[in-house]
């Protein structure tokens, strides 16, 4: 029996309050792939994530997650939100936040148990967060919070990990650390990763596929196949240039000097990480 792809979309359109947000999504993502979900603001990245989680439904077309209809597959998806609300006084320690990943959706409160503690502790160790396991989450930095959210999402051993712009509140160095961490864990546990980002450059060394979204449409494939002037021009519906400079990629609309994606890395002169 052939292994079902992680995610399959068949002619999916999403219409929300009269606006077509996504149209004609038709692709499949293989198990174990590391996919960068790239696109400008408003391209429908968050809608795509919500669609895969089954929080919104396609107007037409079908989606299958791990060979199952979306709602059912949800328990095998780990979701990492952009951030979380926490002021410094919030009485919740790092390990309590991670623990919510184990059973936060169940009614009632969790009875303390050794195996529960142990699973949480192992996950904290794995993401390198044990040093601040007992700190209130509101006192932690953006990078630290992101590690906790990743740990929280991984506790139930999901087959798919969805990360919604995890780099958006991070400095470049913490960003690279998070990418490396996700990459390592994904290989180790054979998890399929959908990593939403504004800029594809930090992900170039780790992703095997790019899911490029613009104007509510998507193209999926290798970076070399997808990030091409003809492909992106068709996607954006306007002429687009693609520049490759010292291992980095710039996507620029021909009628504008403003790059369509954002390039902090270039401005800081950081070469992309040489390791893979």
């Amino acid at each position: 029996m052939a292994v079902e792809p992680a995610i399959t979309m068949d002619q999916v359109d999403v219409v929300l309050s009269g606006h077509t947000i996504l149209r004609g999504l038709d692709f499949s993502i293989a198990r174990g792939a590391f996919v960068g979900v790239i696109g400008p603001n408003g391209a429908g990245k968050t809608t795509l994530i919500r669609l895969i989680l089954g929080l919104i439904h396609p107007s037409t077309g079908t989606i299958r997650v791990l060979g199952m209809p979306v709602g059912k597959g949800r328990r095998r998806i780990g979701y990492v939100p952009q951030s979380f609300a926490a002021d410094p006084d919030l009485p919740l320690r790092a390990k309590d936040l991670v623990g919510l990943g184990l059973d936060g959706e169940r009614w009632g409160f969790a009875l303390p148990s050794r195996s529960r503690q142990q699973r949480i502790q192992e996950m904290l160790d794995r993401v390198g967060a044990s040093a601040y396991a007992n700190e209130p989450v509101g006192t932690l930095s953006g990078g630290e919070r992101q590690r906790l959210l990743i740990a929280q999402a991984l506790l139930t051993n999901p087959d798919i990990l969805l990360l919604d712009e995890p780099l958006s509140n991070l400095d470049i160095r913490s960003g690279h650390e998070i990418i490396e961490l996700v990459d390592e864990i994904a290989r180790e546990r054979q998890v399929t990763v959908l990593f939403v980002a504004h800029d594809m450059n930090p992900l170039l060394t780790v992703m095997n596929e790019v899911l490029y979204l613009a104007q509510g449409r998507a193209v999926v494939g290798s970076v070399d196949d997808v990030v091409q002037p003809e492909v992106l021009s068709r996607l954006y519906g306007q002429p687009v240039d693609v520049l490759r400079v010292r291992g980095r990629i710039l996507v620029i609309a021909s009628d504008s000097v403003v790059p369509l994606t954002h390039f902090e890395g270039v401005a800081h002169g950081q070469p992309s990480s040489p390791h893979l």
């Binding site: 009485p91 919510l100 009632g108 040093a131 989450v137 650390e177």
Partner: protein
């Protein structure tokens, strides 16, 4: 035992009013502390305050038709809670919706209170609605009030994990299949119960004090939710008991020898505890490694 006479005025524990006040006050204190902790965590203090204020409309209505104030408080809270929920489709609209509901209900309250004063030529009822009436609670209300408290506490116990998760990250909660909207509606019910009960004790205007005060104080001293709930409960109970005691003692105080309002004492103690908690520095970080991110 003799020293106690100077602290507790004669007849304190024998007085039936005091016995009822202590029982009702304790039930209300525990519920307010527990629910209030989640109100503070969820940043819903304004809604909590509004629910107390609009309770006065219900209570004034109840006085007009001659039923117990608590049922008026509860129906006022329910009407307002439902109205706020219906009007605030998006989280950002919640404060505006709360403000609109609050002012329209208070307008009605002004009319009811005017009618009360015209019909009964007494200001006692108004005073009780706005500033509490713990010493005049009918003894037969002890049971229903305790049952309401237990129900609100059970509801919080039931909602515990999904409520916490959706307070910290609604997206994470949704992704795990938590019915976030149902959870927040059920929490609203617990909130109405807690606020309206405490409106009965300390009055509609001050019910937020018992809801927010002990929780906001306890949060400063704890870093685990379980301990926060426990400490908030201790603060709320101690505050209510001492407040009742002082109010009882104040029957011999100037100017009139009629006793000062309980709500004054309860709020004064609460504010004092809160101020102390803000002055005492927070416990230092116990981080094992100051290195942080880079490992």
């Amino acid at each position: 035992m003799h020293g106690l006479q100077y602290i507790v005025a004669a007849g304190f524990f024998q007085s039936p009013e005091v016995q009822v006040a202590l029982m009702v006050g304790s039930a209300v204190a525990v519920t307010s502390a527990v629910v209030g902790t989640f109100v503070v965590i969820r940043g819903q203090s304004f809604l909590g305050h509004a629910l107390g204020d609009v309770g006065s409309t219900g209570a004034a209505g109840a006085a007009l038709i001659g039923i117990q104030a608590i049922w008026g408080f509860l129906s006022g809270g329910l009407v307002a809670g439902v109205a706020v929920d219906v009007l605030s489709r998006r989280p950002r609209e919640r404060d505006v919706a709360t403000g609109v509901v609050l002012s329209s209900m208070l307008g009605l309250s002004a009319l009811f209170i005017y009618l009360i004063t015209q019909l009964s030529s007494s200001t006692g009822v108004t005073q009780e609605i706005l500033f509490g009436s713990i010493f005049t609670v009918a003894p037969r209300l002890v049971w229903p009030l305790s049952v309401l408290s237990v129900l609100a506490l059970m509801l919080i116990g039931f909602l515990y994990r999904p409520l916490l998760l959706s307070s910290v990250s609604e997206d994470a909660a949704l992704s795990r299949g938590v019915p976030v909207r149902l959870v927040s509606l059920l929490f609203l019910l617990a909130m109405i119960t807690a606020v309206e009960q405490s409106a009965l004790v300390v009055g509609a205007l001050l019910s937020t004090a018992l809801l927010i005060g002990p929780a906001a104080t306890a949060i400063r001293f704890t870093r685990q939710l379980g301990y926060t709930l426990l400490l908030a409960t201790v603060f709320a109970l101690a505050d209510t008991w001492v407040g009742i005691l002082l109010a009882y003692n104040s029957f011999t105080w100037p100017p009139a020898g009629r006793g000062w309002p309980v709500s004054f004492f309860i709020v004064a103690i609460m504010v004092f505890l809160y101020l102390v908690s803000q002055i005492i520095p927070r416990a230092p970080s116990r981080r094992a490694d100051k290195g942080g991110d880079s490992q």
